[in-house]
Symmetry: C2
Subunit: 408 residues, 2 copies
């Protein structure tokens, strides 16, 4: 099935090189397609690594090994297989991952635990070891490629390549942060997301990199949803090569640490939003601003309840300011809420305030707002200071067609 | 929008009269339609009442007052308004409910707290008091009508009238149990469901009626979902007129209590399944059998995670035995699970066992099963003795059309 490019797609940005990172791609032919589907990122010695992973109880061997090995803090390589998630494949799946780790480690002369592997695609088919071996061999010796080549090679049902970058000043050193990501369905990360890779030339300890990645994740990847279906393979990795020459960041007391953490969070937010922009069948990008909640976490849960509601998502698809469905989604969230303190608005116009429809509600500007591509929903719970922003897309016939009209 | 009758519809059964129950319907014209939309069930003096209600934090005044008044245990009347849920309408909505309660109580010469009111339809528009007053007046004096007339009058987007009945022997007395229900979207009851009404001529105390209704609810209405969206108005009421002449049931020690509880549970299961059969856009009725869970409640949550997964529901719509999506839904449920003990089957054929695809998996009979109307998914977690059955429908273009293609 050929998928149309998402109407919410953004062009791939012109992203800087990161000293200490070399990308290569190859054809492992995990599916019957003629495109690169194996990506190899080679990392300079001494690269710090951090990662966040799916909370699924049925996580893949890639996730299990990644979570285990990220603890030692150093990475020399990242391999990504596209077309087969290798999830729910038992010992055979695990052997395939260990084979790849060994093959790359032999090539680099490093311990296998410094080689990270991700896989994405169909669940329940063991990754074929022969294709993996040949694909890795080809990738190890391929010519270096661009960020966009790598972003395309890790994609599956994605309709556009997704990358973002930013920078930060640490003392007088400018450090670059670059990331690419894939994902469009089975998106409801809970403390993690689809496959995302972040590279920086900053010098930073693994422990502090993990601390700020985890914090950024809570406010970004954990605040997006396409369909409420959390994947078995969600992974975001961050690699810091240390080539920028800044004083090593060891904690928030280090000069420049706040700026770096803010830049990393900004990069994560950009990447997370790109995934929503490629949500299966998406025609509209929806931002849900929740305030007045009992806590920030409560606000996030209320926001996700709205963002995951098929009735809210189909209403937005139909350009219908059906705020009653937002009330319903707040009510079912299982979080503290009081009907008579709840206010709801679209595009900056309040439709209901303090539990009652607004007497002077003018549907004209709201109707115009809903015809656009970017939809804002504002919810104030009137209970406390908790706030969160959640991003999602609408639910259209496209989602049904992509997931129901053909055999996978 | 004219909705096609669900392909999963069942004919309305021939249901017996219940001594002590008289039904009447009228046109309140809550919407611009020419059909009865106000239902009045008059109940004999001394009728026991029990109810279960939505857990929504944004419940309607009808739900608030019903939950409060059911505690006194006696009912003389039930009014149902269709076309306007009166939810999220503040003090004006509450005034309309209190007006109806007072009007019916004056007519019957009973306390207002013995009059129960439900409303279903659009959220956020106060129920118009003038239409309610005229509609109630017309209903109070209308000729008695049939169960099917009442089932039609309480419906909104339903495509067929839904009723069920059964009976039980209490000593040498046969008691009849009859119910009708409405609902097709915004269905994900959590300890309650859409609007459902159960009538019996059994003699039973209100407290024991509530006990067995609550227990039945856990295994029936709380085990169905159409779209994961819990309504603001979900209500199931049970009324027992006591006219059958059986010895009053006061607890499970009473002779015949087990038989009556089993019959009530059976009736609730029939009614719950009818709602799924009218799920918006439904083409297939899906039963999900979960065993081997840590507890029954854990099994129910795993079942609902599968039943609410848009990726599972679209796969079934596409007649695709995509058991990887079932793995995903088990993994995200947040319940104890072990990938390497998980087994999944369709139509009685195991596709995966103990965390691995079955080597001898024959897709032929599974493909044939998936072409049918009734789909069985079996999941064994291999952890404990907990089990549950959950019912849902597939997710099709019809759901998107009903909820997204037109303005509400």
């Amino acid at each position: 099935m050929d998928l149309e490019r998402s109407p919410l797609a953004l062009p791939f940005p012109d992203m800087p090189q990161i000293a200490g990172v070399t990308l290569r791609v190859a054809r492992a032919r995990y599916k019957n397609w003629d495109r690169c589907d194996l990506t190899y990122a080679e990392l300079a010695e001494g690269t710090s690594v951090a990662g966040v992973f799916t909370q699924s109880a049925c996580a893949s061997s890639e996730v299990e090994l990644g979570r285990q090995n990220v603890a030692q803090g150093v990475a020399r390589a990242q391999i990504v297989n596209a077309g087969n998630s290798n999830a729910f494949t038992g010992y055979r799946g695990r052997e395939a991952v260990e084979q790849i780790m060994g093959q790359v480690a032999d090539h680099l002369g490093c311990p296998a635990e410094q080689v990270f592997v991700s896989s994405t695609g169909v669940i329940g088919v063991p990754l074929p070891k022969d294709k993996a071996r040949e694909g890795v061999a080809a990738a190890l010796t391929a010519d270096p490629c661009t960020w966009e080549d790598a972003a395309l090679a890790i994609s599956t049902t994605d309709t556009f390549a997704k990358g973002a970058h930013t920078n930060a000043m640490i003392g007088d050193k400018r450090v670059e942060l670059v990331g690419f990501i894939k994902g469009s369905g089975m998106i409801a990360p809970d403390m993690a997301t689809m496959l995302g890779y972040i590279f920086t030339d900053a010098a930073i300890t693994p422990a502090f990199l993990q601390e700020i990645l985890s914090a950024a994740n809570t406010a970004t990847f954990s605040c997006i949803t396409v369909d409420g279906d959390t994947s078995t393979s969600d992974t975001v990795m961050a690699f810091a090569t240390g080539k920028a020459g800044n004083g090593v960041l060891t904690g928030f007391d280090s000069p420049g640490a706040d700026a770096f953490a803010a830049a990393l969070t900004d990069l994560c937010r950009q990447l997370a939003q790109l995934v929503v922009r490629d949500g299966e069948g998406a025609r509209k990008f929806i931002s849900i601003f929740v305030s007045g909640a009992f806590s920030d976490e409560s606000a996030r849960r209320v926001g996700l309840s709205i963002a995951n509601s098929p009735l809210v998502k189909t209403a937005i698809a139909g350009e219908d300011a059906n705020w009653g469905r937002v009330v319903m989604a707040v009510g079912k969230a299982g979080e503290p809420a009081d009907r008579d303190k709840l206010s709801i608005g679209f595009g900056g116009v309040w439709a209901a305030k303090n539990g009652l429809p607004c007497a002077d509600y003018d549907e004209g500007p709201v109707a115009a707002h809903l015809k656009g591509r970017d939809i804002d929903i504002t919810v104030d719970l009137g209970m406390g200071d908790g706030r969160a922003t959640v991003w999602t897309c609408d639910l259209t016939h496209g989602y049904i067609s992509i997931n129901g009209d053909y055999r996978s």
